[in-house]
């Protein structure tokens, strides 16, 4: 964390945030099958509620402490070798505290929802699902609370594991199992980058502890030359650029950015609560969290900030375009998530740290709500996910409809600005106006991000209204839609809570300089103070026009979306498909990036492997060297052929004689 002068309060209770869900996973994992669904649900939800209570308690302790107070739970050494030492220690500051609330709070709601959503599974499947879900929360809390890079990495890969298990939850379906593996392996590519970044940091600072790193980084100047180590002769900026880019490669995996985003849309193969919790609200934001957590390092590397910002902006627009053409309700939301994560990266990349994190929080509320709403719709529609088969669900599923509408407004800012509007606008305005180390070195990045981001925002409004219109507005288009029914209260109450949060979270991001202005910005300031100082982030005067522009953009695009799919302009989409059939198909096929990777990476790897096996191992080494030698020896060996008759005792005797001969040789020669 970014305040080395912070007041530290020991709070061992923090461990409960990890150990409670872990205990839930262990109990349900081993005994869940025999406990029965009721008990399993009680345990799984119970530990989550308890963890949330602990998080709230810790948060209040933080809140009531002096400005900049942090809670810490020291732990034992994990491993210590040479100069490298890694410990189990937890850190609960205003950043990790905020995320703890989100993870345990939204997590608890989604656990409740799951107890009903998954009720058609058999006892074993039910227990397995809630075990994995608890396991995920334990890993996520490790990621968030770890006070050093190693522990964060442990959580980082842990959530990857939970994600793998949950995407492939219905493993008897080969396709779903494949999607789980695809997610894990794509993430592994990212983790490779994380590791390299970690090693670079180790060779620079000798530790991965955030507090110590903050302290050491605070004393550095970017232009300083490094004297020793692997980076001898580099400047601090150059070395940290490499390290932070390594981390960011990890982020592109975990947080589904270009070019590693391809796993997230496929992750929708998992049960819908998983999509809501892991692949929208929490896990996929881990990359944003990592950049925020190490912001003091990124601040010393303007090039990395520029890369983060640019990649975020490009991803935001790219995936919004794909979302235009998708017909699967979950796929639309998945690409929307990729796009929104791009916004968050524009924020934390361009120095608007609080805005990026705020968008993370508000997105957790409305996107979880949207996904759970989609799950509710799927329940009502007998697991059909094609929005072309829906329509008119407004009347059939009033609660689902209402909460979905609220969340749609929150994400788009269409009509009434709700939470998502303010966090998104704060990000874009900052990108345009901010003066900092990045804008000094790369002045074009901010405006570019603003333009791409605004286009993506327009796209968001359009595809979300399209989604809403096709699903809920108009008249039912199929029998299934005509007979759809509202889900049980166990499912819609969490929806209502999330929708409520999506509305009130707007308070956190209100602009301006007044009692409620920039609440979250002020709250998180101690965490980002050093990064802000290092990157010379200057406040820009709040101007009204970006807000008005953003609102108009949302209004026009959203209105257009609604009109084209539920209003008077209905003929236009069909016309578009007629006029640009190839382009439409290209977008529907997700720009064929998966195929590109297939031909560029996977196929060549397989071909090379097969070639090496057949030529390297079989032909050259075995054929020429080994068997060649053997064949030469064969002639000699023929003499002893009679000895090879398969009689074990004879073999043993032979071996004994051989040992004797060896010994004799040794003794004879050695003794001379």
């Amino acid at each position: 964390m970014a305040h080395s002068d912070a007041i530290q309060v020991a709070q061992p209770l923090l461990w409960a945030l990890i150990l409670l869900p872990a205990a839930g996973a262990l109990v349900n994992g081993f005994f869940g099958r025999r406990l029965g669904k009721g008990n399993v649900a009680l345990i799984a939800v119970g530990v989550m509620v308890a963890a949330f209570a602990v998080a709230v308690f810790a948060f209040f302790q933080l809140f009531h402490g002096e400005h900049g107070t942090v809670l810490r739970a020291p732990g034992d050494v994990w491993f210590r070798v040479g100069n490298t030492s890694v410990s189990f220690g937890l850190l609960f500051d205003r950043l990790s505290g905020t995320l703890s609330l989100v993870v345990t709070g939204v997590g608890a709601l989604i656990h409740v929802y799951s107890t009903s959503y998954m009720s058609h599974e058999d006892d074993f499947g039910y227990a397995r699902f809630l075990t994995y879900l608890n396991l995920f929360v334990a890993a996520m809390m490790t990621l968030v609370l770890g006070d050093n890079l190693a522990l964060t990495f442990m959580g980082w890969e842990g959530v990857g594991l939970a994600s793998y298990l949950l995407i492939g939850f219905w493993y008897t379906d080969k396709q779903k199992a494949f999607c789980g593996r695809k997610a894990f392996i794509t993430n592994r590519v990212g983790d490779f980058g994380f590791l390299i970044g970690f090693f670079a940091v180790l060779s620079l600072f000798g530790t991965g502890d955030y507090a110590q790193l903050t302290q050491m980084a605070g004393k550095l100047q970017g232009g300083q030359l490094i004297a020793t180590g692997p980076f001898a002769g580099w400047t601090v900026t150059a070395a940290l650029t490499l390290a932070t880019l390594g981390f960011f490669v990890g982020c592109t995996g975990k947080s589904a950015q270009l070019p590693l985003y391809v796993w997230l849309p496929d992750a929708m193969a998992g049960p819908t609560p998983v999509s809501a919790l892991i692949h929208a609200a929490t896990m996929v934001t881990a990359g944003v969290y990592l950049v925020a957590r190490t912001s003091f390092l990124f601040a010393l590397a303007p090039a990395s900030m520029a890369v983060v910002t640019t990649v975020g902006a490009a991803t935001a627009l790219f995936s919004a375009l794909i979302a235009f053409a998708q017909y699967d309700i979950k796929k639309v939301l998945a690409y929307s998530t990729v796009s929104q994560l791009g916004f968050m990266f524009i924020g934390v990349g361009s120095g608007a740290y609080f805005a990026g994190v705020l968008h993370l929080v508000t997105h957790a509320f409305f996107k979880a709500c949207l996904f759970l709403g989609a799950g509710s719709v799927m329940h009502g529609m007998h697991e059909d996910t094609d929005i072309r088969n829906m329509g008119g669900l407004r009347k059939k599923m009033p609660w689902t409809h209402l909460t979905f509408l609220v969340s749609t407004i929150a994400i788009t800012g269409f009509v009434v600005p709700l939470s998502g509007f303010f966090s998104k606008d704060a990000i874009l305005a900052n990108a345009l106006f901010a003066h900092n180390a990045m804008s000094d070195a790369y002045p074009w990045v901010g405006p570019l991000a603003y333009v791409l981001g605004s286009l993506a925002a327009a796209g968001t409004a359009f595809y979300m209204m399209r989604l809403y219109a096709l699903t809920f507005a108009g008249e039912p288009r199929t029998e299934a839609a005509r007979h759809a029914h509202e889900s049980s209260p166990v499912m819609w109450v969490p929806l209502a809570v999330l929708a409520f949060l999506a509305v009130v979270a707007a308070v956190l991001g209100l602009p301006g300089n007044w009692a409620l202005g920039e609440l979250f910005g002020r709250f998180t300031h101690p965490v980002f103070a050093q990064a802000i100082a290092t990157a010379h982030v200057e406040e820009h005067a709040a101007t009204a026009w970006p807000f008005i522009v953003a609102w108009l953009v949302a209004l026009v695009a959203g209105g257009l979306g609604y009109a084209m799919f539920a209003g008077n302009l209905k003929s236009i989409p069909a016309r578009f498909v007629e006029v640009f059939p190839a382009l439409t198909r290209f977008a529907q096929d997700k720009f064929r990036v998966d195929e590109l990777y297939q031909w560029l990476i996977i196929r060549p790897l397989q071909v090379i492997s097969r070639f090496l096996w057949k030529v390297g191992d079989a032909l050259l080494i075995d054929g020429l060297l080994v068997n060649g030698t053997a064949r030469a020896a064969m002639a000699f060996a023929r003499l002893f052929r009679t000895l090879q008759n398969g009689d074990v005792q004879r073999y043993a005797a032979l071996m004994a004689v051989a040992v004797g001969v060896i010994l004799w040789t040794v003794l004879g020669r050695g003794g001379n």
């Binding site: 040479g82 100069n83 594991l161 793998y164 379906d173 090496l612 191992d617 060896i662 040794v666 050695g670």
Partner: protein, 535 residues
């Protein structure tokens, strides 16, 4: 005496077993299990009694008795921390192997005697402190292993076992010649400590000696490109053979580098180090690529060993505390996780009598506990944090990155790609075997883990988690030995640099470039620069 007891208890057990009637296999199984369990029990005393503080003796539990005094050969045994860990690995693994081999029904008596003899030979290899004694144990390992594969193996066992024997035997003979040469140039003694201190040979001779040892060890590891015996041997060996082969035998090679090739011939070792490190990285990647195209489960796991042992060799060649310790730790990890993989593959084989991946598919529903265990072991194999594999791989790669050999960072980066590839082939294996729908009717009624099998696999799972979360008790014993080797190699490095003044230091870790002086408590320090901008 304690160490000697641990070495020869299994042999004694084998001798007694020779007198038990062959017609009562149950008796043999019980007896062998009891003997190996007792050996493990006694070896725990070694574990408890080992002093890993910096000032403690290098070799503990030492016993030195003249054997063939006229030839300078003695029965000299003793353990440093690394050998201790490997002995523990051996004694812990053997009872598990015997429990797993309960299902062997053919020539049970001979089978178990072979395993017991093998255990003595393996422990002896790690404990020996006399070059001839070492060589005797080293070669003695081959005989029971040869029989295990050749007699109890599957269809193509003869080719595999002969290949295994010739490969390793030919390489070892070179070592024998080198041992004799070295002893003659060290005052005629074969004692390891004497040879290490008194060896006086020219630079060229040292190179040849190092090469002779290195080739013998490289074959055993096995390093690319002398690895091709391993897939055949593993594929044809019975489960017990595979587990011991992967779990312990391969470590004899890496241990050989650590104990013999590097400390005895440090100058030559430094000269060949870049080449070996490159071969190690090639092995990591090559082995992983081979795994991508295997249709036979055991062959796949065998190639994964080539990749994992590449990590070990990379760690050893880093010559930093992190790299060496990580290498040692990875030896244990590989013993546990690859051992467990072979045990699980063996269980599947016993059910279906095929190793072909395509014969399986979708069986997780039938055998959920086997599937769960397999996934946990897979996670260890791919180095997920929280499992033992992570600690090893992390230390190896970090140690390589922090090393001082020119280009070592590039090797670390290339080696780290093995982390990706490992996940690719292992998860693909899991998917093809356990997930999807059942395609073969024969798989519809597979029984899940039996109680005996649960006892076989549970200790491995426990080790995976314990060694992942609390590795320190396993890392601590290795430290003195690692520090000694680093010091020894640093001295050699200094010698090379006096001869060649342009040569930069290449051994040991580097101090972090930007670290502050060690501080008492983070957060208790000076205020940061004033925050600019807002507020």
């Amino acid at each position: 005496m304690l160490l000697t007891a641990v070495i020869f208890l299994p042999l004694l057990g084998a001798l007694i077993a020779a007198f038990l009637p062959a017609g009562e296999p149950g008796q043999h199984r019980g007896w062998a299990f009891f003997v190996t369990l007792a050996t493990f029990g006694v070896s725990l005393a070694l574990w408890a009694g080992f002093d890993s503080r910096p000032g403690a003796a290098e070799f503990q539990f030492a016993l030195k008795v003249p054997w063939i005094a006229s030839a300078g050969i003695g029965y000299h045994v003793g353990l440093d921390g690394v050998a201790l860990l490997l002995v523990m690995l051996t004694t812990a693994l053997t009872p598990i192997v015997i429990l797993a081999a309960w299902s062997v029904t053919e020539r049970v008596k001979e089978f178990l005697i072979a395993v017991l003899v093998l255990e003595t030979a393996m422990i002896g290899t790690f404990a020996a402190l006399d070059l001839v004694l070492f060589y005797v144990f080293w070669e003695a390992v081959l005989i029971p292993m040869y029989l295990l594969i050749g007699v109890w193996g599957s269809q193509n066992r003869l080719y595999a076992t002969v290949k295994f024997f010739i490969y390793t035997f030919v390489a070892s003979v070179l070592m024998l010649i080198a041992i004799i040469y070295a002893a003659l140039h060290a005052g005629g003694s074969f004692d390891y400590l004497v040879v290490r201190d008194a060896l006086r040979v020219g630079a060229d001779a040292q190179k040849w000696l190092f090469l002779a040892f290195a080739v013998a060890f490289a074959v055993k590891v096995p390093m690319f490109p002398v690895h091709t015996w391993l897939p055949d041997a593993h594929t044809e060996a019975p489960t017990a053979g595979s587990v011991i082969l992967a779990g312990v035998l391969l470590k004899m090679g890496t241990f050989g580098f650590f104990r013999y090739a590097m400390p005895l011939f440090p100058d030559a070792a430094l000269q060949f180090r870049p080449a070996i490190a490159v071969l190690a990285v090639v092995g990591i990647i090559y082995g992983a690529l081979m795994c991508l195209v295997q249709g036979d489960m055991k062959r796949l796991v065998a190639y994964s060993s080539v990749s994992h042992l590449g990590f070990v060799m990379l760690g050893l060649m880093a010559l930093t505390a992190e790299g060496l310790t990580g290498g040692v730790y990875q030896m244990l990890n590989h013993g546990v996780s690859t051992g467990a993989l072979f045990l699980l593959v063996g269980m599947l084989y016993e059910r279906r009598h095929t190793r072909l991946i395509s014969e399986y598919g979708g069986i997780a529903k039938q055998v959920p506990w086997i599937a769960t265990a397999f996934v946990v072991v897979t996670l260890s194999s791919v180095g997920l944090p929280g499992t033992n594999g992570f600690v090893g791989e992390f230390l190896i790669l970090a140690g390589t990155w922090l090393g001082r050999m020119p280009g070592t960072q590039l090797l670390a980066v290339l080696g780290a790609t093995g982390v990706i590839l490992g996940a690719v082939y292992m998860l693909w294996l899991v998917e093809r075997v356990f997930f999807g729908t059942i395609t073969s009717d024969e798989n519809r009624h597979l029984p899940d883990l039996s109680l005996r099998e649960a006892f076989v696999i549970a200790p491995m799972i426990v080790l995976i988690v314990v060694m992942g979360l609390a590795p320190q008790p396993f890392l601590a014993p290795a430290r003195p030995a690692v520090d000694r080797l680093v010091t020894r190699m640093q001295e050699a490095d200094r010698r090379l640099r006096t001869r060649d003044p342009g040569r930069p230091p290449s051994v040991g870790g580097q101090q972090p470039a930007l670290a502050l002086e060690p501080t008492t408590a983070p957060g208790a320090l000076a205020a940061m620069p004033p925050a600019g901008g807002s507020h």
